[in-house]
């Protein structure tokens, strides 16, 4: 019974969202706000129950010695983030944001160099024995020339940059094609649900 009710609610909300294709209306707005609200509530409760409680509260109660007090540091930074709601002490939240940005930047720099730059350079150093390899190397070099702004794009640089632009356009085209496929897939997914699970037109 619960599954049938759930299917009808899901179908109703799907149709409410689809109704926006005709024009904006209260059904669409209701479904949109419901989705945002439920998503936010789910994420908050999930983090509180599975993260804050076991890794902070429970651990603080069960841990002994110095490690217990170290837990107060992330707890304090977390509370300082909430200070944004109180105008008089909202500046405190900047410390938490600074910590987050610092960690993200530190991890990002090492990750980009170790995980993208060096392996991708290694992946580009290939023998020019196949058409694919030649195309790839020419594409990389000409695209780099396109983004080289320290000299005017004249002479050989001009041709290199133009070729680079062709490769960039081809990449955009491939991305657009894949994006079309992705969006159609979402429509297929919802219609599949409506036809097979809600209306049960097909078994």
């Amino acid at each position: 019974m619960m599954q049938i009710i759930g299917t009808w609610i899901a179908a109703g909300l799907t149709l409410a969202i689809f109704s926006f294709l005709y024009k904006d209306n209260p059904f669409y707005k209701f479904a949109e706000h419901l989705y945002v609200g439920v998503s936010a509530a789910y994420a908050i409760l999930y983090v509180l129950y599975f993260d804050v409680k076991p890794l902070l509260v429970d651990k603080f109660i069960s841990e002994q010695g110095g490690e217990r007090w170290i837990l107060l540091v992330p707890a304090a930074f977390g509370l300082m983030m909430l200070a944004r709601w109180i105008p008089k002490v909202s500046w405190l939240s900047r410390w938490s944001i600074a910590l987050t940005v610092g960690i993200a930047a530190g991890l990002g720099i090492t990750g980009q160099i170790q995980g993208i730059l060096l392996p991708q350079i290694r992946g580009t150093l290939v023998p020019l024995t196949t058409v694919n390899n030649v195309l790839m190397v020419v594409g990389v070099i000409s695209t780099l020339i396109y983004f080289y702004f320290s000299a005017a794009h004249k002479g050989a640089l001009r041709y290199g940059a133009r070729l680079g632009m062709v490769f960039i356009m081809m990449a955009f085209g491939a991305s657009f094609g894949y994006t079309v496929m992705a969006r159609i897939s979402l429509l297929i997914g919802r219609l599949h649900f409506l036809v097979y699970e809600w209306l049960r037109l097909v078994k």
């Binding site: 993260d51 076991p54 995980g115 992705a182 897939s185």
Partner: protein, 274 residues
């Protein structure tokens, strides 16, 4: 000439209606097209296929409802493949709203292979931390996941007793609707040498091909087409294959609209210039 003006300014609702029809008809009449297998998907399949029986495969569910129609078929297909090879499955995710989809997938597939929770598979759930978590998992999974999705401490779960970090994981299957795939490659793949295959939405997939070319990932399942290919390879046809005729018809319709729209635009412009 009026016809070209109409084509150039066609009401978007007509496009939506035609799109609805070309997607709906193949679904209702269950039309099926032969699926051609691509190398990236074949390699993803081989990455799971070639693992010795009992290997540990970690699944990262990094998507939510907005991309589930594309990625959920991939999750189901790769889970089926992993369970059929008697691999152990550890599922987690970087998107809080994605975990229900992971749980739905496990509940659907695991019983078909008599897989037991805690022994053959486990759902660790979601924890915040993202990049820091991906690095930290290389040291000790318990630092981030004190309990599983149901609140059971990891040390009380038989499967997790020998699993502490990436050294105990044989393959990561990243199912991606955002940037998490790149982060897994950077922080688990490059730093710890973890073998990775990626299943990505059509929007993300083009950005993953260069990782494939540089051998940073072992395989790539791109969009609904990739899911359909994987379903074909494991010989279990699901929503991926079911949607491919609709997908093809919709692409033809959109190609037609792009061509017609451009013809209309250029004819109207030329007329105005003259």
């Amino acid at each position: 000439m009026k016809i070209f003006e109409k084509i150039a300014n066609i009401d978007s609702r007509i496009i939506y209606l035609l799109l609805l029809l070309v997607v709906l008809i193949p679904l209702v009449f269950k039309l099926v097209l032969p699926i051609n297998l691509s190398d990236p998907v074949k390699q993803a399949y081989q990455a799971i296929e070639q693992l010795p029986e009992g290997s540990v495969v970690m699944f990262s569910v990094d998507y939510d409802a907005s991309s589930a129609p594309e990625i959920q078929p991939m999750l189901l297909a790769t889970l089926r493949h992993a369970f059929s090879k008697k691999h152990k499955v550890v599922l987690l995710g970087q998107w809080a709203l994605g975990l229900p989809f992971g749980e739905i997938g496990l509940n659907e597939v695991a019983p078909q292979f008599n897989a037991r929770y805690g022994v053959d598979y486990v759902n660790l759930g979601y924890r915040p931390g993202y990049r820091a978590q991906m690095v930290g998992l290389g040291r000790e999974i318990r630092d981030f996941y004190a309990t599983d999705y149901k609140g059971t401490p990891l040390d009380q779960i038989p499967l997790m007793q020998g699993i502490h970090n990436y050294n105990d994981i044989d393959l990561l299957v990243g199912l991606e609707a955002g940037q998490a795939g790149e982060e897994w490659i950077q922080f688990a793949g490059a730093r710890y040498g973890l073998n990775i295959i990626i299943g990505a939405t059509g929007v993300i997939a083009p950005d993953m091909f260069h990782y494939m070319q540089a051998r940073q990932i072992r395989g790539l399942i791109g969009g609904l087409q990739g899911a359909a290919e994987y379903e074909t390879m494991i010989n279990h046809l699901g929503t991926g294959v079911a949607g491919m005729v609709a997908q093809s018809w919709a692409h033809l319709l959109l190609l037609g609209f792009i061509i017609a729209g451009n013809v209309g635009y250029f004819v109207v412009r030329r007329r105005k210039q003259s």
